[in-house]
Amino acid sequence: MQNDLSHLQDYLPVLVMAFVALGFVVTTMVLTHWLGPKRKTKIKSEAFECGIESQGNARSPFSIKYFLVAILFVLFDVEVIFMYPWAVIFKDLGLFGLLEMFTFMGLMIVGLIYIIKRGALNWD
């Protein structure tokens, strides 16, 4: 029954790494708060946005259209991510790989045409 506990030793570096990462964050934060000078003013504690004075509240409702476009962008972004590993071994895969990728893209294009027809990308 001890055999799988001995497995745990393999994960010891992961545990050490986790402690080092956590320790680094805690140490640097504590040190900077402790060592650094504190001169708080109203302007300093404001949200920093490229030096421009901040206006209004960030928590105002956005139009749902932005989310639609964003989520559809993610979809096609992921499609491109799939192409990277495919492109790396493109020559080894040969014609088979090409046809597989065409099938995949064909399915995505049906989806794209469908969302355009459904009016998901109409701004008005």
Partner: protein, 453 residues
Amino acid sequence: MKELVITSLLGIGVLAFDILKLRKFILPLIVVGLLAVVGASIVDWGMNENLFGKNMIIMDNYALGFTSILCLLTLAWILTSTDYFTNEISRTDLYALVLFALCGGYVMCSYTNLVMLFIGIEILSIPMYVLAASNKRDMLSNEAGFKYFFLGALASSILLFGIALVYGATGSFQLDAIKNVLATAGSGTIMTAGILMIFTGFAFKVGIAPFHMWTPDVYQGAPTVITGLMSTMVKGAAFAAFFRLYYLGFTPTLEFTASIFAVLAGLSLIVANVMATIQVNAKRLLAYSSISHAGFMLAAVMTADSMNPRMLMYYVLVYGIASLTSFNVLYHVSKFQNGAEGFDAFKGLVKRNPVMAGAMTLSLLSMAGIPPLAGFMAKYFVISHILERGYTWLVIIMVLTSAVAVYYYLRIIVSMLTPIENAGRIVSTDSNRIGLLVLSIAMVAMFFLAAFV
């Protein structure tokens, strides 16, 4: 392979037909496609086809049996609720999502690798989250989708953590390799933790007490037609996956987990049936009834080492048919009464639509387990098997809670028989009428066909 390819192409085909303005032909396309899947699983019977490399998915007879059951249930579901789809603007989305979810169901009943199990669960779950919230203007539907998504994601993450721990302990995702390690080396601390986490994840997904809290809210909030799909196809696929895990992989661990299974099965039966008696909403009552059936099916999973999987298939099919019918009738009844879902909504149904009243009566009696309806045989198989294995106390709970169940099912039946004045007829489409008749006949016929299980 054919089954998966046909169903996923069917989903794409539905979208393509919508683009090409062939909306009239979408329904025939789905019917033909799903029948083709059943045909393909008959052709593949006994072939043990190995998909996606070595031992990722094996289309054995277990998988093909569940594939055709899920497929037939979905087909019956679509044909009995055509009037729901004709009123929906986004019906193409609904059709496509259901078909993609069905693909996930196939993967869940044919996996031999834990990674495939996880992928299957996600393919099934994500469309279901969307479908639960598909009634966009209704707050309850939104709540249902939100709750289903968050608790489903939590359950998935627990399951995934469990899979990772099992991998850490055995060095493999393959069910047969895990079984070998368990049989030779036994299970150590990490393995036990992993197995219990996987079990918890599954218990969440199938809605077993004490992880059932989301079930009544989600079932009640989601559109009734979608709830019908959740309690048949989704539940069937989840139990197929659960049983397969213990049938092919974790069999040796049943020695120490069987007692946990038995306690949770008993708890589900007691909690679900006691809670169901105090419900005033028929939809919520059916949700609790589905939890009590989950208790029965969990008892089947508990004895996966000695039980014939056909008995679980029979249970899933019989419960699926009964549940499908009852949710379908509930949908039509509440549609004609401004969404009323109380028992009063059923008043005078015998006069208002005899076919629906008959089908509803048969389905409720089948769920209660009264002969000569198939539900009796389904419960009989489970009870007789666990009695052989010596769980007398669990059998006593099952029988007692079934008696309680008769009480609350009869409340709906009594309501249907109560006459009311000046009530209009509840109209239904031809396909709905024929569908309900076929399902009613199936409920009786399967009682007599049980001898072949």
